[in-house]
């Protein structure tokens, strides 16, 4: 039995998440990954912006930083650049990371700074009551898309890959074993790493979109996830409406704080 309490601020429970929300599932996988990697709690900094997922840092016993809406990566960049030995992990939602924080998202990836970002993608603004986000699927209902969304949605993993991330993976709240493994890989990767986790929000998304129960939503995740290995053998028609899971991208590129360390050596005449 895994000892979650080792990493939790138990006094801060119960958490604020709704019944059936998948954010707690992601938190559990994150703690298991940190434990697997044997990271010192003193050396982990968990940074977030604003939203449901961004309340995660409050519950864990690391150095925790709950910042302004969309800006988690900007603060995290300051932490990592100032103290590169720290393990900096960012948790963010789809609205936080790709709407108001979209600029920081693409530039953290471009810079390839050694930060792991876990993006809780529930297709909706949950905390503010169900408004459409940049990942709300075309046609889906939201409080600000009462006739169905007419905007195409972002593919956030492809966005990170194109912007320059070293490691990009996707999973769901249903696939907890895979999620833990991907978190381990992402945190171990030198450079900017993204794990997009598709997660259910029964309260703000499901009940507007014919997915009334958390079970319906988890089944949807299971039925629509296609492992990258299987996807490689499928036609675009067969993949229509589905999403790929697993490691989507994994390359080695120069990392920002490493590059800056070399710059310091050069500027200070040490090399």
């Amino acid at each position: 039995m895994f000892n979650y309490e080792k990493y939790l601020r138990v006094k801060k429970f119960p958490h604020i998440w709704c019944a059936g929300c998948g954010d707690g599932t992601i938190l559990k996988s994150l703690l298991r990954a940190v434990d697997h990697l044997n990271l010192s709690k003193d050396e982990v900094v968990l940074v977030s912006g604003i939203g449901c997922s961004s309340r995660t840092p409050g519950y864990v016993d690391f150095n925790t930083l709950h910042t302004t809406h969309g800006r988690a990566l900007a603060f995290a960049t300051g932490v990592k650049h100032a103290k590169p030995d720290l393990h900096v992990i960012v948790v963010s939602g789809d609205g936080d990371a790709t709407a108001i924080g979209g600029n920081h998202f693409i530039h953290a990836a471009r810079r390839n700074i050694d930060i792991t970002m876990i993006l809780f993608n529930n297709f909706i603004y949950g905390m503010t009551g169900g408004q459409a986000s940049p990942t709300t699927p075309l046609g889906a209902m939201a409080s600000t898309a009462p006739y169905g969304s007419i905007e195409p949605n972002f593919n956030v993993s492809e966005l990170a890959k194109s912007a320059g991330a070293s490691f990009v993976a996707r999973t769901t709240a249903f696939h907890t074993g895979q999620m833990e493994n991907l978190f381990i890989k992402a945190i171990s990767k030198k450079g900017f790493s993204l794990v997009e986790v598709i997660v259910q929000c029964p309260t703000a998304y499901g009940r507007r979109n014919k997915l009334r129960s958390p079970v319906d939503m988890l089944k949807w995740q299971k039925d629509h996830a296609v492992p990258v290995s299987a996807a490689a053998k499928m036609t675009p028609e067969q993949l229509e409406g589905k999403f790929t899971t697993g490691v989507l991208w994994d390359i080695d590129r120069p990392e920002y704080t490493d590059q800056y360390r070399r710059l310091i050596e050069k500027a200070s005449g040490q090399c």
Binding site: K12, D42, T68, A74, G78, A82, K83, H104
Partner: protein, 379 residues
């Protein structure tokens, strides 16, 4: 020995960099903007030479966020900007106030609103520097007027930020940011460098927002073994969010009190000229240079005046100003805006005293003759 230090002929933005480095600043995050970019450009060269860190962020908001993140690890951190960027930084400046993270923000003012006059001067951000972020808060804002003053007040800005765990705004303007004067840097031995108070209790007993009698809680560096939570939400002494009105009130009152109760330590001003004169000038930043010139010419022409120059503009040196204003016939507020501090001055002085604005909105320095004309009207 300070007499061994060679004088340098530098622009104000460069003096700001030299002051920051002297104060112990080792982190800068910024975004290109006229007329402050020299601060970023010079620090991009100088910081890595001494193991410090420079980063050009993707936007102004990110630069402010990165500075706060760096400060949380224990580094003295700086950002520099001008009007449009200052507007963009406001939300995160409020975050630094709320979470009590020391940092310094330089605003080299230019003409506004909007894109305004990027290469010309103004002092239109005086009230924004006081009230730019949302919510009720106290803030420290310094207004130098010469290159040596920029150097000294940049060092002071870092010291006040560390001492009071607060963002400090250094309000320059394009005129003094870009003009050059002689500067003699301080000898290291002569420089007071204040560091934030760090906790000395065992980590499991650390309450990050519980102050002692000073009202300023000790601040631990991220990664130093004191694991704690930082949030922009209203929080209690443990650092975690609360909706308890008693705890919220306690925190909000303390955040304001921790600046207001130290006003005497924070404010600096300079009083010059003939204190018995019927006319008092009030000017700061580059406008204080115009006022000082008017004072000199006035002396030759027999127009007697005195000059009150706040070097700390927020909190305003109210008591000292009221003493200087007592018995005057006229106060002339010289500022390159439409009267932002004039309203503050009217609030502070007896209604019998005439308060006149010599302002400017066209990007040009204020001509001393305008001041002399207004002063000469007093018999």
């Amino acid at each position: 020995m300070s007499n061994k230090i060679k004088p340098v002929f530098v622009q104000g933005n460069h003096a700001c960099v030299l002051g920051a480095l002297k104060a112990g600043c080792r982190f800068f995050a910024g975004y290109p903007i006229t007329p402050s970019s020299e601060i970023a450009e010079i620090l991009a060269i100088e910081l890595p030479k001494i193991g410090g860190r420079f980063i050009q962020m993707e936007d102004e908001i990110a630069a402010m966020g990165a500075v706060i993140g760096a400060s949380l690890t224990g580094m003295k951190a700086l950002t520099a900007t001008s009007g449009p960027g200052f507007s963009l930084k406001q939300e995160n400046i409020g975050y630094a106030v709320m979470t009590e993270v020391p940092c310094v923000i330089v605003n080299v003012q230019r003409g506004g609103m909007s894109t305004g006059l990027p290469t010309q001067s103004a002092q239109g951000d005086v009230l924004q520097s006081r009230w730019g972020t949302h919510g009720d808060h106290e803030i420290i804002v310094l207004t130098p007027s010469t290159i040596p003053e920029i150097y000294r007040l940049t060092i002071r800005a870092f010291n006040l930020a560390e001492k009071y765990r607060t963002p400090v705004i250094l309000l320059l303007d394009e005129i003094i940011g870009h003009m050059r004067e002689v500067l003699v840097e301080y000898d290291d031995a002569d420089v007071e460098r204040i560091e934030r108070v760090r906790p000395d209790c065992p980590p499991d007993q650390y309450l990050p927002f519980k102050p002692d009698e000073t009202d300023i809680p000790p601040m631990a560096d991220f990664g130093s073994g004191y694991r704690y939570h930082v949030t922009g939400l209203c929080h209690d002494e443990t650092g975690f969010p609360t909706n308890d009105p008693v705890k919220i009130d306690k925190m909000m009152q303390r955040l304001n009190r921790k600046i207001s109760r130290y006003t005497d330590d924070i404010v600096e001003y300079q009083l010059d000229g003939n204190s018995d004169a019927p006319v008092l000038l009030m000017a700061y930043g580059s406008s204080a240079r115009s006022a000082r010139q008017a004072l000199r010419i006035g002396d030759e022409r027999g127009i007697s005046m005195s000059l009150f120059q706040p070097l700390t503009i927020w909190p305003f040196p109210e008591t000292a100003f009221q003493a200087a204003a007592a018995g005057k016939k006229k106060i002339i507020v010289v500022e390159a805006n439409a009267g932002q501090m004039k309203r503050e001055i009217e609030r502070l002085v007896n209604r019998d005293i005439q308060v006149q604005l010599i302002g400017s909105l066209n990007g040009e320095p204020i001509h001393p003759e305008k001041i002399l004309l207004a002063a000469g009207e007093v018999g």
